[in-house]
């Protein structure tokens, strides 16, 4: 028997079935990295690939135009109203939407979904609890009556603040009956929904095999425009070179995780189109204020002149990031696009001399051991050296460097921060707020992690989130960022670009500003 199988193997070497050169016409096949998915419950999803899954399979109350996020429109909500005092929001729920289970979607489902997310209190719950909801009060604050959903916040916030938070993954509307039918030990169906589906959007879950494949099927009863693709297959292919081969060969339609090398290699290939979309994540250096050198304002300023922004953009991160130096990414309300810093060794040297450090000194940088982050770190190491600063790179796995960062045991941390929702407060909250700088503080925003004590700036950020006038609010954020850009212990360097390489016959894949906005429903294949 073994000999027979061996013979068959050798036969396969010499004469093998040629690989299918094309994917089925009604199926979209993507190579992606989906090992970050740890749950399919929208109340818990907080990962990039998970958000993309929920964006394609669950409806929210409202949405925004991916090209202009200031245009907010109703999805499950037909219309909405905000009370005079700015604390009560009422949504009229669209009729005629059914969940995949066949249950009609009602205001009760919408209220339940938000209540459930707050009661379960999983990682993304703060997106909703920041409006004053607690597991105890949420049933009074968020209520359904007929086809009306009412949400009552604790303060009069900028209206878009709540509205944007309602576009986040955690605000997905789940099927109350279906979820509660699968409840175990009062978990509101959480254990079940982690690997199952109870939504109403264009696609529904067919199968999720962790680290292997995610398969979505078209929801044939979808209330909106019916997608052309009958099935979407997302394969986990962690090696970018393998993704490129599959794409060139036609065994996949879209490759989602190509590196700068692979993208350069695809140039001039007419069968393949490379598309980009600006994402909200920023790459930055966090300078710990517990370090005696980094405490000096001149040193912080000097380091901002010691990064080769342009060089990194054009080589290491070519096609994957653009220079950006403020904490709000482009595309957000009030984003500051000025880039006052560039590599200027002389200027840095004179700043270091002012600080009395012209002799040079040593620092360490905790660096996640992925190719891109490591190469950026090496570039920074060499430019720091030009001004006499010896930078020791401490490589580590992502979770390991993060653990150290969160314990405030670093000198410099090279990191990437992605916004949690589309409102500017998401990044102001972490980069420019630090309500409690003590070692045992409850919340650990980036400002805290770098031990940057900023009571004044915290107040400014708090004021900006309460400003109802959008234009005034944008001005407040611009002012905040200008100051932050100069004095903060953050060297903000780049804004991320998401790249997708597609076969020429595949059209309509949407790369939106947030990960939930990467949508498949408009995809067609010739």
């Amino acid at each position: 028997m073994r000999r027979l199988m061996g013979a068959a193997l050798i036969a396969a070497m010499a004469w093998s079935t040629p690989a299918l050169a094309e994917t089925p016409k009604d199926t979209l096949v993507m190579a992606h990295t989906i090992d970050d998915i740890i749950t399919l419950d929208p109340a818990e999803i907080f990962e990039f690939s998970g958000a993309e899954y929920a964006g394609n399979t669950y409806d929210r109350l409202i949405g925004y135009e991916v090209d202009d996020v200031s245009k907010i429109y109703g999805v499950v909500a037909e219309s909405w109203d905000i009370s005079e005092d700015g604390k009560t929001y009422t949504f009229k729920i669209r009729s005629g939407i059914n969940f995949v289970s066949g249950n009609p979607l009602t205001a009760e489902d919408a209220a339940f979904s938000l209540q459930r997310a707050i009661i379960l209190d999983k990682s993304p719950a703060f997106i909703l609890t920041q409006f004053g909801f607690t597991p105890e009060n949420v049933k009074d604050k968020i209520k359904a009556d007929g086809d009306i959903l009412t949400i009552e916040t604790d303060q009069a916030y900028a209206p878009t603040f709540l509205l944007y938070c309602l576009t986040a993954t955690i605000s997905s509307v789940v099927d109350k009956k279906e979820v509660m039918a699968n409840e175990q030990d009062g978990d509101m169906g959480h254990k079940w929904l982690r690997t199952n589906y109870a939504g109403s959007s264009a696609f529904k879950l067919r199968q999720w095999k962790a680290n292997e494949v995610l398969v979505l099927d078209r929801n044939d009863d979808y209330w909106g425009d019916k997608p052309a693709m009958k099935r979407v297959v997302i394969r986990h292919i962690s090696e970018p070179a393998t993704q490129r081969l599959l794409l060139e060969k036609g065994d996949i339609d879209i490759a989602r995780k190509l590196g700068a090398d692979q993208l350069a290699g695809l140039e001039g290939n007419d069968d393949i189109r490379v598309r980009q979309g600006e994402k909200g994540a920023v790459y930055y250096l966090g300078l710990s204020q517990k370090n005696k050198y980094l405490q000096k304002p001149e040193v912080r300023q000097a380091l901002k002149y010691l990064v080769d922004y342009k060089g990194i953009e054009q080589t290491i991160m070519k096609g994957k990031a653009t220079v950006h130096q403020a904490f709000l990414p482009k595309g957000f309300l009030g984003a500051l696009t000025e880039t006052p810093f560039s590599l200027d060794v002389e200027k840095a040297k004179s700043l270091l001399a002012e600080a009395g450090l012209s002799e040079g000194f040593s620092l360490t940088m905790d660096t996640r051991n992925t190719a891109e982050i490591t190469e950026m770190a090496q570039s920074i190491q060499s430019t720091f050296a030009q001004a006499g600063i010896t930078l020791e790179i401490i490589p580590g796995d992502g979770k390991q460097t993060l653990t150290k960062y969160r314990a405030r045991n670093h000198d410099i941390y090279i990191g990437r921060w992605g916004p949690d929702y589309q409102d500017p407060h998401t990044n102001a909250d972490t980069f420019a707020r630090n309500p409690d700088n003590s070692d045992d503080a409850k919340s650990k925003p980036l400002a805290w992690r770098n031990a940057w004590d900023i009571p004044e700036m915290t107040k400014q950020a708090d004021a900006a989130v309460l400003e109802g006038d959008a234009a005034k609010r944008a001005e407040m954020y611009l002012a905040l960022q200008r100051e932050h850009q100069q004095v903060s212990p953050f060297v903000i360097m780049m804004q991320e670009i998401e790249v997708a390489a597609e076969r020429a016959n595949t059209k309509g894949f949407i790369i939106g500003p947030a990960f939930d906005d990467n949508r498949y429903y408009k995809v067609t294949k010739d």
Partner: protein, 356 residues
């Protein structure tokens, strides 16, 4: 207790009559060894996993979670308890066959392993078959032609297999045989068009497709597995051929070979029957060990070929501090090593001419 003592005693008694140990004693010995080995494995893996400077809660809740969500997850994972208590709870659960849930896949660890292990088993088996079918004859030829060109050729091939990084070999193999020549199918276990045609029975596609009578699926799976299996097999081929060569050289210099030659036996018969027959005994151990190392899952090969196997699973889990999954995976690898060791012991007895 009394019965086992009785059995042990009768085992003792039996051993005075003959050198063959009493079967009950053998079984008891094996069970004790197994239990101690597994416990040792669990202790080492558990405590290494806990001293690794990675916060396991972070893997579950992510970086942006609020303090309350973090605390809640910590308690759900039982990480607020003292370390020894966590370990006792774990061992108690394992004793009743509960390996817990993987926090990364939201599945019971047992379910995950049932899914990923067959993929590795299939790949490792095919790789080993390839390695043995080519490696053993190559080793024999090298030994017979010691110092001449066939020996040199086998040596070069073997060294290449040993020293070329497997991911590079994998990528080049894909580029050549998949992208350029179109001889084999690409990464993954099946083409999309063939997915969902076969229900999993063993989890090994080559076998499941035959059970279902889907020849197309079988051929497609074979075409997918050929390249990674050959590349994995090449690595074990290198090892097996070197070991075969040295075992053979030892045998070929023995007196019985000279006797056989003097008696006028044909060279083919002397080499392939008499010398190789005697080499088989140590060779089986070598092959079993090489098979076992492939069964751990070859992470790099799995990554390049997008093969959803045990290696990727354990590595991923380790990097994310998903301890239940790591411990579960380690127990499986341990079990594989122990059972292959047992198997080679048994084969040893069967093949050893003196035992006949």
């Amino acid at each position: 207790m009394t019965s086992s003592m009785h059995n042990a005693a009768s085992g003792e008694a039996a051993s005075t009559h003959s050198w063959v140990p009493h079967p009950v004693k053998v079984v008891l010995g094996v069970v004790t060894t197994l239990a101690i080995t597994f416990l040792g494995l669990l202790v080492v893996t558990f405590f290494i996993g806990r001293v690794v400077p990675i916060d396991p809660v972070l893997a579950v809740v992510g970086d942006h979670a609020s303090a309350s969500a973090y605390e809640k997850a910590k308690i759900e994972l039982g990480l607020h308890l003292p370390l020894w208590q966590q370990f006792l709870i774990y061992v108690k659960n394992v004793a009743v066959g509960d390996f817990g849930e993987s926090v990364l896949t939201a599945n019971p660890v047992i379910e995950d392993i049932k899914r990923v292990f067959p993929a590795t088993l299939e790949l490792a088996t095919m790789g080993t078959i390839f390695g043995v079918l080519l490696g053993v004859p190559m080793g024999v030829v090298a030994a017979v032609h010691k110092g001449r060109w066939p020996d040199q050729l086998v040596r070069v091939l073997g060294l290449l297999g040993y020293s070329v990084p497997v991911f590079w070999l994998g990528l080049v193999g894909l580029l050549l045989f998949y992208a350029k020549l179109d001889w084999v199918a690409g990464p993954g276990r099946l083409d999309i068009a063939y997915e969902y045609l076969v229900d999993p029975v063993t989890g090994m596609l080559l076998i499941d497709s035959l059970i279902a009578g889907e020849i197309d699926v079988f051929l497609n799976a074979l075409s997918h597995i050929a390249l990674p299996a050959i590349i994995l097999g090449y690595f074990s081929l290198a090892y097996i051929s070197r070991m075969t060569r040295s075992f053979m050289l030892e045998q070929l210099s023995q007196e019985y070979i000279i006797t056989a030659r003097v008696k006028g036996l044909s060279e083919t018969r002397i080499i392939w029957r008499h010398a190789l027959g005697n080499v088989m005994v140590p060779l089986v151990t070598v092959i079993a060990l090489s098979y076992a190392s492939l069964l751990e899952g070859s992470v790099l090969t799995e990554i390049v070929f997008a093969w959803p196997g045990l290696g990727q699973y354990i590595t991923n889990s380790l990097l994310q501090a998903d301890m239940n999954a790591v411990l579960g995976g380690t127990v499986v690898v341990g079990a594989v090593f122990i059972s292959l060791n047992l198997l080679s012991d048994i084969l040893y007895r069967l093949l050893d001419p003196r035992a006949k």
